[in-house]
Symmetry: C2
Subunit: 452 residues, 2 copies
């Protein structure tokens, strides 16, 4: 819940930077150990002995892009319902146990995965594993919890989407960018479909997707792999394997041939802004090296204050109040690469947009220098060093990448693969993907007399 909250609230920029951080950490050589229980549960342990604390995360390889058409929001609704108790433990008992020891917990649903986690003192790990293993198959959903929790989700949607012009615009930009792939559908679900979600659908989704052989357990912190292994066998090991799941094959995008725009005018908008997105490969769907080049392209073009867009538009000519780029690198299928800008003061949006286009055109034409690339790689890889301070962040990297089809080896080879990207690779990625004739541009505009 929490991750989605932030993502919804701070939108594109934060989503991008969080994802960049994830992948930035991904290659950390922290000595991850992985093993698989007899029932198919993959367990990954990343020791971090600096404090007597552990992060315990269970990842299900199912997200909103796996929902049945017309049932958008069921993955996220089920995430809420997972807190409603099991045959063994009443609703609230798990959370109360965490609070009692000063731990914290949360859960989040994304397009490709759903995860539940707790951060607690090391000695509470066995208890967390017992609780989490129990609700993997033991969830009890009574009819009386459904309507109130659905109201909670509806209110969540109202406050985060309906009340936010930027979120409304983002939803329609995604729905326009993806013409065929379910990434076009919002994770929280369309309002008119959330209203119809019910107990049977939640249980059907739970029974289909929640099982040890469709999950990954990631534990980071003050533990040894051997301890985790015996604990995991005693808890998760007792959960029966579920039926084999079919491959996660979603409808893919057709070739796109058009330049599209999506405009939202709203009296609540103060400063206008634009963002432009392209469909590009993800780490999972890309040819080797391509996603790494896109990551560095995002870094060079618009990753923070040293980037070209920020330096040119914000610092040098002062036309923009903000400008940047981002790449949703972690995804099972083809994903998006975006640039954005908001004009400063009296400058108009069209001028900011033209300046963004000019920077892209310049990069495609002139490429990047080896020195610029070297500095971008350093900035980008440095993210890892900071990330190592964050147990939960590390667990998220492993979980999200494994849940989208990468391997531990991929994650650990990642820094070297980033280092291997050449200046030509970056220019080629820009040339190939940041086309002028197939993209979607979103405009968030102050209301002007009711006409578009």
């Amino acid at each position: 819940m929490h991750f989605r909250d932030i993502a919804q609230r701070l939108r594109l920029v934060l989503i991008m930077s969080v994802l960049a951080l994830f992948t930035a950490q991904a290659g950390a050589d922290n000595g991850a150990t992985s093993f698989t229980l007899d029932n198919g549960l993959q367990v990954v342990v990343i020791p971090d002995r600096r404090a007597p604390v552990v992060t315990h995360m269970v990842w299900y390889k199912v997200g909103s892009a796996d929902e049945e058409a017309g049932r958008s929001g069921i993955a996220h609704f089920l995430e809420h319902l997972m807190f409603k108790g099991t045959e063994k433990y009443a609703a609230g008992e798990f959370s109360a146990a965490i609070s009692a020891i000063g731990g914290n917990e949360n859960a989040f649903t994304s397009r490709d995965f759903t995860a539940y986690y707790q951060q607690v003192g090391t000695d509470a790990l066995p208890e967390m594993m017992e609780f989490e293993a129990d609700r993997m198959r033991g969830l009890v959903l009574t009819e009386d919890v459904i309507a109130p929790e659905r109201d909670v989700v509806l209110e969540e949607r109202r406050s985060r989407v309906e009340n936010s012009p930027g979120s409304l615009l983002s939803e329609e930009v995604e729905a326009t960018l993806f013409q065929n792939h379910p990434y076009r559908i919002p994770v929280i679900g369309w309002m008119h479909e959330i209203v119809e979600l019910d107990r049977e659908q939640a249980l059907e989704f739970y029974d289909l997707h929640y099982a040890p052989n469709n999950a990954i357990l990631v534990i980071t912190g003050d533990v040894a792999p051997e301890e985790v292994k015996s604990l995991a066998e005693a808890t998760y090991g007792r959960v029966p394997r579920g039926p084999d799941l079919p491959p996660r094959v979603r409808p893919q995008e057709p070739r796109q041939d058009t330049a599209r725009t999506v405009s939202l005018s709203d009296p609540r908008v103060g400063v206008p802004s634009m963002q432009r997105s392209w469909v590009v490969p993800s780490y999972t769907s890309a040819e080797p090296g391509e996603a790494e080049a896109l990551d560095l392209l995002a870094e060079i073009l618009g990753g923070g204050v040293r980037s070209r867009l920020y330096q040119e538009l914000v610092v040098k000519n002062g036309i923009a109040a903000s400008a940047g780029a981002g790449y949703r690198a972690t995804a099972l299928d083809d994903t998006s690469f975006s640039v954005y800008a908001a004009p400063r003061g009296g400058n108009d949006l069209a001028a900011a947009e033209e300046a963004v286009e000019a920077e892209i055109a310049r990069l495609i034409k002139e490429g990047v220098s080896d020195d610029e690339l070297r500095r971008a790689k350093n900035r980008f890889l440095r993210g890892m060093i900071f990330a190592r301070d964050n147990q939960t962040g590390m667990a998220r990297i492993y979980g999200s990448l494994l849940a989208t089809g990468l391997s531990i080896e991929d994650i650990e080879a990642w820094p070297d693969r980033v280092r291997a990207v050449t200046a030509d690779d970056v220019r080629d990625a820009a040339r190939r993907y940041l086309t002028t004739d197939a993209h979607v541009t979103g405009y968030l505009l102050p209301q002007e007399g009711g006409n578009q």
Copy 2:
């Protein structure tokens, strides 16, 4: 196949006028008789004694919008495969029998239905019924016919869509207009999904949807209902009822809040053009009277040379070479209302678009006069008189409307419902649906140096 050919080739304008013609004929009091066989097949007979000719059409209540996600084009591919022979008759035998007697036949797939028809001399009707009833459940698909026929469909798509900038644009306009509903997916299918269609998928689709209880037989021509009844019992009556089908519930559209554009620049485009579409109710999804008001709105705004758009933009100020409006009235779910214009000579597209917007704004502000509405109703209803000369057209009206959930009574009450529409109804429909802040505008543009 033929209907889709025409529709693809002449595009929006013709689609609109054909559909308008359908609904225009729909209320014709031609004494349609309807009965249902024991196996669930609805039979509709519309006698037309002027010539010894009959049109024999079978409608299946399944179209591309009923396809499983990721299998776009399977409904249309199956339509092709339905000509591959049965246990009883070899491939080509049915068509040869029609040719031998100088008849003609065809088939077409749409979003909501698929139909097969023959027009032959009256005495050949029993033979047609025998053949068509036989392939309702008797289709034999061998693996060797699959790849060659898929190549035919791929070539059809290449020639009609890939080679036509207007069709490419149309596809992406639809994919943008419908964010959630399968109407966003092209009937012929996305290229990358057609390539993957196979025999098993075609048979699965056939077994699920082709059965007497999911079909409507429409016969117009030189026959009496009693004759048809005994013939139908002797042919279609022998086909076993299929399993009950679930209701045709498709994912519906969310509320739309944005103005979107879709632009295609192509060197093959000579004259630029624009079209703007809104999601509006269909005859099946509308509140009573609303679809009729939208039909008259389309007639007044842009239905032919007497319409406002044509008179103002083409005749009076000469800014446009063409301009009009259309309403895809016949659909199971919410559908689209569109306006379009192409500039004349040196005039630019923006000026033509502004003129279109000005006409819509004027209609919303000032409404329509009773006299203008009366003339529009006359023009619109007059369509029926011409339509009565066309047996196939009449069969198409009944088939398409029944296959999208209307009743014979609805069809026969339709002229009175059109007559009952008031000037306020028309203005209210425009005001409610032709909003300035939620629509999709497509631009077909000559190529200009590669930038959008």
